[in-house]
């Protein structure tokens, strides 16, 4: 009884008219379960965040989240995550392409390597990258003496860490779509007189674009929240290389739970809006394709 009721409420549009059974059975049960599950695991924990900030009051909330140091950290966290996701989108696409379209010895090995950043504790990644890019590291030394480029303990180091952490997302999103893309399409395009670039631009890219966007969004979201690997390589200088999660942590160190929750709430809101935009872009792209087809 209660199940039927909840499905009616949830299905919205359907509840108003006669209930037409869908093609697939189990809509009520499935949706009810999905909403319950998401509430338990995602929504309820996240609603406690804004609730915690209520202790601060309106003025207190704004003075915490608009502090110049905190604002600088938003710019850094979101900027570095966007830059890293962008780099990953370009090079992840190339990696996926190579893995799908060419056969070469050791391909399976390379394929397995892609997932390593998933499996590795992020602190280990951070320590390894810092050792590599520090002044006395294998890469850090030459980079600094030859190009005057400092990576470890600068914002650039943060981007490097986020690229590492985000690598698998783009590759793993694009790879299956590329695998499903028949090579015949490209041959057909070529036989119809398309140049190679036109084939890539008008046949391949539209097909994989939604998955590329998904990979980009995932890499970005992961980068925004990343803490473990970044703190080691960032240098953590206020106003320069201090990420937002670190500021949340330093609020907690002062037993300022409400302040920590306030910054977290802003981060949550910004992430949600950005992901919403990316999703909308994806929907628009899909719609566009369907219309032109």
């Amino acid at each position: 009884m209660s199940l039927a009721f909840s499905s009616k409420v949830l299905s919205g549009r359907r509840a108003t008219g006669r209930r037409r059974p869908g093609v697939l059975p189990g809509f009520g049960l499935g949706t009810g379960y999905a909403v319950f599950y998401l509430s338990l695991l995602v929504l309820i924990p996240l609603t406690t965040l804004p609730l915690k900030t209520l202790e601060l009051g309106w003025g207190g909330f704004w003075s915490v989240v608009l502090d110049p140091r905190v604002v600088a950290s938003y710019k850094l966290s979101f900027g570095a995550a966007l830059a890293a996701a962008g780099v990953n989108a370009v090079f992840g696409l190339i990696v996926a392409w190579v893995l799908v379209r060419y056969t070469f010895p050791g391909r399976k090995l390379v394929d397995a390597l892609i997932d390593l950043p998933f499996a590795l504790p992020t602190a280990v990644a951070g320590i390894a990258l810092t050792a590599l890019y520090a002044r006395n590291g294998w890469l850090g030394g030459p980079l600094e003496t030859l190009f005057g480029l400092k990576v470890a303990f600068t914002p650039l180091g943060i981007v490097v860490a986020l690229i590492f952490i985000g690598t698998p997302f783009v590759v793993r999103s694009v790879q299956p779509v590329l695998e499903d893309l028949e090579q015949e399409f490209e041959e057909a395009a070529a036989s119809l007189g398309a140049t190679r670039w036109a084939t890539v631009r008008r046949v391949i890219l539209p097909a994989i674009f939604p998955s590329l966007l998904t990979g980009f969004a995932l890499a970005f979201a992961r980068g925004v929240g990343e803490y473990g690997s970044v703190v080691f390589i960032a240098g953590n200088m206020p106003m320069i290389s201090e990420i937002t999660p670190l500021l949340i942590l330093s609020r907690l160190e002062q037993y300022d739970y409400a302040g920590a929750a306030a910054i977290a709430t802003v981060m949550l809101g910004l992430s949600f809006v950005l992901l919403l935009i990316i999703n909308a872009l994806q929907a628009w792209q899909g719609h566009d394709k369907r219309r032109s087809a």
Partner: protein, 338 residues
């Protein structure tokens, strides 16, 4: 395959069930401590178990938990059932007391401000002291890089900061503005602010960043011991701070678990000559004067200010003034013109 799994599961269940009675009889203590005390408490726990009547019958078990001092305090506040806490600074135990887990006057319950051992802040420099760093004054020179963790996230770093503040104050005849300026110039020489003391040690030692590391005396000795005295030297400044890492029984938890007597005995044991010897051997300054005399050569004589001195006025005041929101530390990094 399935039956194999099932039998494994059965064996596990049996093991747990069979162990349960003996676990119930054994007494267990959980000591929640801060980062650099790992080696110290490993040695102390062994000694405590050996001398305790229950220890011989294998019925005594002491568990350790280590991490950043503030994080550890938060775990206890959030429900980690620590019998005793042994943290880096009184402020963190105060925070636990504020939540009612132990009385607010906890620090008066044991001798020496509840601190069975103390330490201080020293400089760890590269071998031969190539930059000729002798005192705090040298650290604000333009050619020097200083490594310290962030006082906002590290208990040890707060001692570093206050030691520098005390020096700046003394040098300028008590002028607070000049002390602030001195500390501000010092932090302008810091290229990396790690979140914890161990992180800073790694940055200085493994990454080769910086000319001087501000460190706990015991950490500096440990680095020297672990990495070889041929790589680093310890420099003792003219003035430093007496760091008192206090200990306390968490009343709410021991009353719930019925371990009050054992927890109390454990902390009192830390003050016995035997434990004090172990403390001195681990490079902490012992509270016991007799033991301290025997190890006097190990610990250089240095003028030490205390957190309860009038220049700081205790942890509550110092925390608010220096490390709270908009405190003197925040002001260092505030963009100019605000």
């Amino acid at each position: 395959m399935l039956s194999k799994k099932r039998s494994l599961f059965a064996a596990l269940v049996a093991a747990i069930v069979l162990q349960a009675p003996s676990l119930a009889q054994a007494q267990t203590l959980l000591n929640v401590s801060y980062d650099p005390t790992r080696e110290l408490y490993k040695a102390l726990n062994q000694a405590f178990i050996v001398q305790h009547p229950a220890g011989n019958e294998q019925k005594l078990n002491i568990r350790q938990s280590h991490g950043g001092s503030g994080k550890q305090a938060r775990s206890v506040i959030d429900g980690l059932d620590a019998d005793v806490v042994t943290l880096a600074l009184a402020y963190d135990i105060d925070a636990i007391a504020e939540r009612g887990l132990l009385p607010k006057d906890w620090q008066t319950r044991l001798p020496h401000n509840s601190s069975p051992y103390t330490s201080t802040i020293v400089f760890l420099v590269r071998k031969g002291n190539p930059r000729q760093l002798r005192d705090w004054d040298d650290l604000v020179r333009e050619d020097v890089e200083v490594i310290t963790p962030n006082p906002k996230t590290s208990g040890g770093a707060r001692w570093n900061y206050l030691a520098a503040w005390a020096y700046g104050l003394e040098k300028n005849g008590g002028d607070e503005e000049k002390a602030k300026d001195f500390v501000s110039r010092l932090f302008q020489r810091v290229p990396v602010l790690d979140t914890g003391a161990r992180g800073s040690t790694t940055t200085f030692v493994e990454r080769g960043v910086g000319d001087v590391l501000l460190a706990w005396e015991n950490e500096a000795f440990l680095a020297l011991k672990e990495l070889g005295p041929d790589k680093f030297d310890i420099v003792v400044p003219s003035l430093s701070i007496l760091a008192e890492p206090p200990v306390a029984v968490v009343d709410a938890n021991v009353d719930k678990k019925g371990t009050r007597d054992l927890a109390q005995a454990y902390l009192e044991f830390l003050y016995t000559p035997e434990a004090q010897e172990i403390i001195a051997r681990n490079h902490y300054r012992p509270a016991d004067e007799e033991v301290a005399k025997r190890y006097a050569s190990q610990f250089p004589n240095v003028k030490l200010v205390r957190i309860d001195d009038s220049i700081f006025g205790g942890w509550q005041q110092a925390q608010k003034r220096h490390f709270g929101d908009g405190g003197t530390f925040d002001q260092i990094y505030r963009p100019k013109g605000r």
